[in-house]
Structures are given as structure tokens and as C-alpha cells.
Amino acid sequence: MGGGRARRPRERGGHVLRRRRAGVAVALAALALAVLLSLAVGANPLPLGRVWEVLTHPDGSEASAVVWTERWPRTLVGVAAGAAFGVAGALVQALTRNPLADPGILGVNAGAGLAVTVGVALLGSATTGQYVWFAFAGAAAATVLVHLVGAGGRAAASPVTLVLAGVALGAVLGGVATFLTLIDPEVFRAVRSWGLGSVARTGVTDLVAVAPFLLAGLLVALALTGSLNALALGEESATSLGARVGLTRVLVVVAVTLLAGGGTALTGGLSFVGLMVPHVVRWSTGPDQRWVVAGSALAAPVLVLLADVLGRVVARPGEVQVGVLTAVVGAPVLIALARRRTASAL
């Protein structure tokens, strides 16, 4: 973006690169393991050998249906939504230069939740396929609104006004949605649980429909990383390095809308993922946004899949939604790292 590639000083040398490569290798291995776990573990106690059998040779048996129609879709949704929230979190933290920011700060979740509520109110009920588009439209509308309010007539919002506008509008939208759900609790029962966050709700069809938006968001995010590195030095330095500050900020909001909006549409929102994963990644990669974004895209799905697998086994024969467990799984990691290291500055 704008040609501003702010190179980090060279004295960091080879060991950082080696560590980053090792980190990427570890993240990839963890992701592969998490995917396998997600396919192998569930409420139905299939032997591992049988899982492998039906994975390689689908045969129309019950075991095959469990793996292919229950576990495979939710694994894909977990990977896609996890990566989306992880990258969106990294972007928002870089943009606002606030390590405690998460995608929800732009009003994404509140907008999606309100849109789903209104959608259900208008239609009387909705299929998950319809939920996805309501949520996506709501998330997009909310972030645009937050950005317009935050910008207050200027081209781009400053990070501080953006956060303020996001928090304020998020509260208003959330309040309106709560008010609606209280009017008729029976009708909105499904909406309430929708907000908890689940990867088991959305089928592959909806995932394929949302995937282009997620991919577009991911590409924009990767393209912005250089400019975000420049922005980290402060606005004036960034401008003198050739980064276009206003344009970068607008594009970050676009990318977050695509990613967090798409992720929320698929799952109902997994808020802690976007807050925590970029932290953990930064501790390992340092503040270079190119690595933080790439690392978050790999590490966040691991957290989501592990949390989901845990949710399938802790309350047998029932299940606990992944949104309830991401924080339970992730928080101890975050606390342990926070105690061991100096905080990850931005």
C-alpha cells in the first residue's frame, strides 16, 4: 500500500528469522494436529482406526456420516472463522495501537447481533443460511457507521475516536437487540444462543458463500502489513516513509469488516480469539505486522478447534458451544505468557 515498506533495522539478524521459521513450522504442525483432533474426537466414540477408514474411503455408514457431515463442516468453519477473527484482531490492535482491542470494538458483533434479531423479527424465523447474510450485512453496516461517526466528516477516523465511536455504537446496538429479544423471548430464543458462538451451526454451503469475503479480507490484510509497520512509528514518520495514513486506516476497517463480519456471520462471534491470538503471536514473532498477521491466521484456528473439541467432550452426551470455551482455553495461555514476558508492545 502506498509503496511504504518500512524495513526493520538489520541488527535483528538471523536468529530472529530462524525463530520465526521455527514458529511457522510449529504453528502449521499444531494446526494439522488440531484438524485431525477435530475430525477424530466427538460425542460419538468412534475408534481412531475407523475415523481414518471413513476419511480415506467414505462408505455411507453412520461413522462416515458422523465424520463427513458433522465433523468435517465444523472443522472447516472453525479454521475459516478462527483465521478471520485472529487476523481481524491483529489488524484492529495495530490500527488502534491498543493491545486490548478486539474486532468487536468496531461494533461488528453488535451490528451482526442486531441484524439477526431484526431479521428474525421480520421473518418470524430464519434458517442458518439467512442468518449468515443478516449478520454479515449488520456487521458491515455497523463498521461503516462506526467509521463515519469516528471520522466526523474527515477522510479517516483517528484511532481514538474510532474506538470511542465503536464502543458507544456497540452499546446502543446491543441495547436495541436486547430490548427486542426481551419483547418475545420464545421467538428470540435461537438468537440468544446464536450470540454465544458455535461452529456446528453453519454448513459447508454457507461457508463457501462467505469464503470469498474472508479471502478478500485476508488478502487486503496481508497487503496492508507494510503500511501498518510504518504506522507503528507514528503518523508523521509513517507519512515521511511514504505510507498513506488515511487510506491505510480506511482499508483496515474494510478488511476487519470482511473478516470479522464473515466470521461472526458463520459462528455468531468468537470474541476472545481476536483479542488473545495476536498477543501470543507477537510474543513469538515480535511487532512486525507481516509476521503477526500471518501467525495469527495460523494460530487462531488452532485455538478455536481445540476449544471446540473440548466442548464436545466436557459435557457428554451433550456439547458446549465453542464460543463459551475459547476464553476458557485461551485465557490460561494468555495469563501464563503475560507472567513470563514483558507485555507485547505495539
Binding site: G42, A43, E70, T127, E186, P317, Q321
Partner: protein, 353 residues
């Protein structure tokens, strides 16, 4: 703030809330005419003919022992407030006893006598989904509060007990294990209508037995009833030893051996839908969209009862959908005769086809 009424309040003090409540009632009935309005002040003199004549079997003072504390009825109550799930109100309707206060109902139950409901002094706009309206209960000046299976904690009990004696279970009972007969008997004893309550219970049981006799094709078959809550998955209703299972066994069904697995955790995972299997499978759905989604999954189609067409599906709003509630928390002397007819007819269709 909370009004705390002594047992013999000054006339001026009682007049004020009644007037206020009447005003509020007018306002809220205009705002929500569909729910049968808010408070409607009846012209009947307080205690005048609200209850059938006493049988003289109950000895007052009567100590009401509950899991949350103890209260005492010094004499036979005349003004009864009733809160909680529909069976509590059913227990009074079955006796022909008119309460002075009840919560609003979110559904027009087929077994509810609407004329009788309209004759109740205060039908609150708040339903079981809302916090207990302590002030409205106090304003109705009750001398007994029927709250069986409904008091959440000791603090709520204390607030209710400061208004009037409270009827609740001696031990906390899990929602799916409630005995409707016990609720009916407790209400009967408190109101000195025990014999009438026994009659109500035996009439209801006889009605169920009649329906069972009309459907010999169901005898000895197993049945699973469950509700698909979509996001939170399927909840198993006919758990072993629970209210719903007792209802279907009275109808002639045999206990389902698989029902034992769901006593502690009644949710059915999407991966193990096979555990729903029975000779007859009844699934309730939140709405038609949820039903379509569920019926499209291969694992649900593979459940033997579904594959063989021994499957009944009822979505909210369809005829007979109130059956869900009766299986869940709504079993009573009034609702059961209605519910077993619906259930037997629907089950019979799929068993004999």
C-alpha cells in the same frame, strides 16, 4: 422499592395501590389488548365466593414447610395469588377456585377456561419469563401465594413470605421430575379442598386410562419425545423416571431402555442421534426452518424410527404443538387429558400406517 404490607393494613393504605393498580391496568390493557389486558378490577367483594366451600378436613393453623423456609396459614385462605408454571394455575382452575392474582401466560392453552381467567382480579402482563412482580402480588392483598416449583432462592422466598404464606415443595424437585399429582394435592390441602383434589386427580387419570384403552396398538411400544432447540441441540424429554416418561407409560407405552442415559444430561448430540430411536419418535421443533434443517441431515434420516416412518414432527404454532409444554413442565390434571389424546392420535397414525 418494595411494599411490605402488614396483615391488617390501614384502609387508606390499601386503597392507594388498588387505585394505582387499576390505573396501571387500564393503561397496560390499552397497550397490550392481545394478552387479555393487565389488571382488571372485578366488582366481586373480597373473598366473596372465590373458593368453593371448605371441606373441613384441613386443620388450621397449617404450617407450610418448604425447602426455602417455613410460613403458616392461620386460617383458610380466601385470596390466593398464584405464580409459576401453568400447572399451578391449572390446579386452581381444576378445583373451581379463583385466584386474585396470576402471572400472564405466553400461550392460550387449549385447556384454559378463558372465561374463568378473565374473572381473575389481576392477570399480570408479566409472564414466567419476567422477574416476579412482588409489588403487584402484594397489591393484590393475598393471604396465600401458590409458588410450587417456582421459587428460585431464599431471597425470593423471603420477599414472598413477607407478603403472605408461601406454598412450595418441601424438597427442591428437578423440573423434569415434577409430580403434578403432588402439586394438586398440596394446593388442595392448603385450600381445604383435599377431597376435591383427589377427585380431580382420579378423573384425569381415568381420562388418560380411557385414551390408553382406545389405543391398544400403542401398548408395550416405546416412545421418545424430544425437542430440537436448533442451536443448543436436541433435548431429550422422556428421560427415565421423569414426568414425561410417566405420562407416556400411563398411556400404555413401555419405558424406553435408552431413556436411562439421559437422566443426568438430557441433551442429545448431533453425532449420536441414533440414541433417539424408539418404536415411535416424536420431535418438537421451534419452527419449520429448524425442522427442515434437521430432516436434511443424513444422521437424522438414518435413525430407524425416521427411516421407517415411525416419526411424528410438530413445530411451534401447529395444531397440538402445546403438547411440547405439557411434556416439558406443563403436566396437570387439566392439560394431560388433552395432551394424551393429541399424542395418542399422532402416534397411532405412524404406528398403524
Amino acid at each position: 422499592m418494595i411494599f411490605r404490607w402488614s396483615r391488617r393494613p390501614a384502609v387508606a393504605l390499601t386503597a392507594l395501590p388498588v387505585v394505582l393498580l387499576a390505573l396501571v391496568g387500564c393503561a397496560s390493557s390499552e397497550a397490550a389488548p392481545s394478552t387479555g389486558g393487565g389488571a382488571s378490577s372485578s366488582t366481586s367483594a373480597a373473598g366473596g365466593g372465590l373458593l368453593p366451600a371448605a371441606e373441613g378436613a384441613t386443620q388450621y393453623p397449617l404450617v407450610l414447610d418448604t425447602w426455602a423456609g417455613q410460613t403458616e396459614l392461620t386460617e383458610r385462605p380466601e385470596r390466593v395469588a398464584v405464580i409459576g408454571f401453568s400447572p399451578n394455575l391449572d390446579a386452581l382452575q381444576a378445583l373451581g377456585a379463583t385466584p386474585v392474582y396470576t402471572m400472564g401466560e405466553e400461550t392460550d392453552w387449549p385447556w384454559r377456561d378463558q372465561g374463568w381467567l378473565a374473572s381473575i382480579e389481576t392477570v399480570d402482563t408479566a409472564t414466567r419469563e419476567d422477574p416476579i412482580s412482588f409489588e403487584a402480588i402484594a397489591a393484590s392483598d393475598p393471604d396465600l401465594i401458590v409458588a410450587v416449583n417456582y421459587v428460585a432462592d431464599e431471597a425470593d422466598f423471603a420477599r414472598l413470605a413477607s407478603i403472605a404464606p408461601v406454598l412450595e415443595n418441601a424438597e427442591q424437585v428437578r423440573g423434569d421430575q415434577i409430580s403434578w399429582q403432588q402439586t394438586q394435592r398440596m394446593v388442595g390441602e392448603a385450600l381445604d379442598l383435599s377431597a376435591a383434589s383427589e377427585q380431580v386427580i382420579s378423573d384425569a387419570e381415568a381420562a388418560v386410562a380411557r385414551t390408553a384403552a382406545e389405543h391398544p396398538e400403542l401398548a408395550g411400544k416405546t416412545l421418545t419425545a424430544a425437542t430440537d432447540y436448533s442451536d443448543t441441540g436436541i433435548a431429550y424429554y422422556t428421560v427415565a423416571g421423569g414426568t414425561a416418561e410417566r405420562v407416556v407409560t400411563q398411556l400404555g407405552f413401555a419405558p424406553n431402555p435408552r431413556a436411562q442415559a439421559f437422566v443426568d444430561e438430557p441433551s442429545v448430540s448431533d453425532e449420536r442421534l441414533g440414541e433417539l430411536d424408539a418404536d415411535v419418535l416424536v420431535v418438537f421443533y421451534l419452527d419449520d426452518a429448524v425442522r427442515r434443517a434437521r430432516e436434511a441431515t443424513p444422521l437424522f434420516q438414518a435413525v430407524p424410527a425416521v427411516a421407517d416412518g415411525r416419526y411424528v414432527s410438530i413445530a411451534t404454532g401447529e395444531p397440538g404443538s402445546e403438547l411440547t409444554w405439557v411434556m416439558r413442565r406443563g403436566a396437570s390434571a387439566l392439560s394431560l387429558p388433552w395432551a394424551v389424546d393429541v399424542l395418542a392420535d399422532r402416534a397411532s397414525e405412524v404406528v398403524t400406517s
